[in-house]
Symmetry: C2
Subunit: 336 residues, 2 copies
Amino acid sequence: MTRIVDVARHAGVSTATVSRVLNGKTVRPELAAAVRAAVEDLGYVPDRTARSLRRRSSDVVALVLPDVENPFFTAVARGVEDVAQEAGYSVVLCNTDDDPAKEGRYLAVAEHENMAGVVVAPASGSPEIAALRARRRAVVVIDRRVGQDVDQVVFDNVALGRRAAQALVARGFRRIACVTGPVATSTAVDRARGWREALDGAGLEADDLLVHANFRVDGGYDATVALLARPDPPDAVVATNNLVGVGVLRALADAHGRPAASPADAVDGQGPGSGPALGVGIVGDLPFATSRTSDVALVPLDPRALGTTAARLLLDRLAGDEEPARRVVQETPAGP
Amino acid sequence: MTRIVDVARHAGVSTATVSRVLNGKTVRPELAAAVRAAVEDLGYVPDRTARSLRRRSSDVVALVLPDVENPFFTAVARGVEDVAQEAGYSVVLCNTDDDPAKEGRYLAVAEHENMAGVVVAPASGSPEIAALRARRRAVVVIDRRVGQDVDQVVFDNVALGRRAAQALVARGFRRIACVTGPVATSTAVDRARGWREALDGAGLEADDLLVHANFRVDGGYDATVALLARPDPPDAVVATNNLVGVGVLRALADAHGRPAASPADAVDGQGPGSGPALGVGIVGDLPFATSRTSDVALVPLDPRALGTTAARLLLDRLAGDEEPARRVVQETPAGP
DNA sequence: TTGTACGCGTTATCAG
DNA sequence: CTGATAACGCGTACAA
């Protein structure tokens, strides 16, 4: 393995000069050229470990997520990776299963590993985030709000919930339920609030049509089954995230029903068998849907862009940006 | 930050002794106890960077995958993470997009970062794999065959393709097409071979019913659209991976068709509209399906177990196992 | 068994 | 602007 001393000897300079060339400090041009030539000749690659030890900071960024099997978060991960790799950083993915204890462990590890920074979709208002900030580590919170003085990138979740519900209102549905995530998850609460606002705005009753499930497929499935079994079932449902949306659609399909484009569609052209038909609105995308989604009111999100935005913010901090904490609202695609 | 010297002083021993206790070498019990107490008191956590520099090997494992957005590979990743984390290793995910150049870069990085080992689903017969082996780094190849002397964990892909096709034969289909991945991908080729064997065994003609698409949703979608447009379309299709399967089902759905449980089902009860009905067999799982899959012949895979198996193999190597390269055939669930 | 002292490869300091 | 050298924190010969 070739080390920095080899390069130095080969170029007839000191190791300090080699280091300076590699790190873009000012060096006499002819010496710099000699160093670059030597690096090329010997195929020298700096040892990141030694560099990290000396700098007291590695070039690894932690990406802490509630569920890496959720396509939403894998897309976020790609976004983060794209820009981090470009800048020479590696990305480590950490899965918390929405468990604050797991999350705490990962954040502690990030600190002890001297990682450059952390992008986290928090399971809770993690005290460890404050700890990292206190140690002057770069931290960017994504997707979910936390009440702390830290960089954040989030969607306008109230607006997203409102748009999904309004789309159903516009199609003529009157009893629009909402299946959302846990009350501890800000996206679940905010999108549900948007749903309620849309109903209020249209003069419709929310009644007992708000269901807090989990943010997974089974949550949406079970909630839909329960809604359909009610004495006075809704005629439409808003799912506040992608997986819940999958659950809603699958529950409909298993009941030999289908998403309805309008109330008329629901009562008239009973399709396969004679199962239920429901208006369906979903906040999120369905990259692996196996059915037509043209009758579903999709409110797309572009999670990959969320990731790139967060990563750029993080890189700014790593480059020494000392501005006060920023709060960025991530744009979403216009939708159909 | 507390260092090893602090612990040593606190316990009244030398740094060497502290190190020995931490690494499980033989130390007089009372001293060991004192050291542990000091570690506890001071909340000491060893600096991984310094340790890596000294050991010339970090406790990071690279997981190099063709597509981290494919639920199959995210499940593999969880399997790897589960056992790696347990053993104190971090996992870095690397996305190659099936591009040999990208893959080569990541494997080179793994080497220069002194990563402990690599688990890789190769895009090609990477020469870098041999290079890593030559440097005595632990490497485990998963999912796809490579013609090299290296640990491998793969499914019995010929059998999987055969099972999917046989299930359709058993349901009475006679013209069974196969949509598979690129010829450069061993899983695509092997599962197609299995499909062909099943047809041969049943006395059916394969004709020109083999289609090489890509291993993504659009590959399955386009191939299905093309098959349906033929003068003599097939009455069933085998999709050799999960994403292609999604594409097949979505193409059917968009044509207002559906998967058929049997040829009779296909001609009789024309369901919604009057689109095509096809027998469908899929090698893989559909965690985010939005339609009923009871009429689809699914051959499940348990990718998470693939990951845990590979990780265990890797850990064995990291623990000093010097046996000749092993080739493990990963069991698959029995299927319905 | 324990302690001392050196080395891992790089960067930062400080003199020149 | 450049070179010599001292850290960074840990593991491990070597000597005791």
